[in-house]
Subunit: 128 residues, 2 copies
Amino acid sequence: MDPVIPSTPAVKPAQALELWRRTIVEGVRRDQPDLSTRQMAILLIVYTQPAPHTVRGLSGDLNISKPAVTRALDRLGQLDFVRRKVDEDDRRSVLVQRTLKGSVFLADYAGLILANMTMLPEHNGSAS
Amino acid sequence: MDPVIPSTPAVKPAQALELWRRTIVEGVRRDQPDLSTRQMAILLIVYTQPAPHTVRGLSGDLNISKPAVTRALDRLGQLDFVRRKVDEDDRRSVLVQRTLKGSVFLADYAGLILANMTMLPEHNGSAS
DNA sequence: TTAATTCATTACGCTATCGAACCGTTTTAG
DNA sequence: CTAAAACGGTTCGATAGCGTAATGAATTAA
């Protein structure tokens, strides 16, 4: 059996890891801010998911403790990648806001990913 | 000018970040070993690049100090994701070797990436 | 055989992050 | 108005990571 259906395997595991390796290694080599996985996760959530973002919400999203989120925000704030702002509607809450510097960093990072994606099937730089 | 060439934008920056976010967040949520970027970089190099891998070589590849590599290998060895073996041809050198557990971890990780890739254009699960 | 080189690790002082528990403020319930 | 709950931050002791410099072992050069 197993009729010969010319399937397009799209992307194979080895290629997925290759994409990851190229991107991460390039980031390390460029001496980018050495963000932990958690910090990067928070940064990505804040910039790609609709606002508002609170400490409690992020803590739940990532299934990590609130102090861990607070510390990650300290670090990201230090880098000026996010800013904190008290929610005026509920002054107990803190809203995590985006910054220009954070946007630039992630835009660069996206560029890094895209550059390494061009060597994947169906993605060989076919944009105009 | 700028004739209307119907270009296939392939993947846009926002989609690249979306892929990254989904994958990283899922990893954090699953309580995967919280590897640093450097540790992940070393793991990926060891498993996707041809052997042999030495401390000195990895240090050069990533442009980081040798002690940093040694410490990363300590952590990865602790997790049994890699193993050290003295090079018998030059007993000063240490060869970094792969393990079954490391292979499984990266295979899972690749699966995570691929799953999130299916929502990218031209990659919508078109494998047979 | 001695000296210099190379490779990896360890020592050191420092900073960052961890989870658990506690604190202060604000909001909501009674 | 008081009591309870919710939210974020801080403190605590502990662990892990950093870069620089020193150490130990193996190799190469003289």
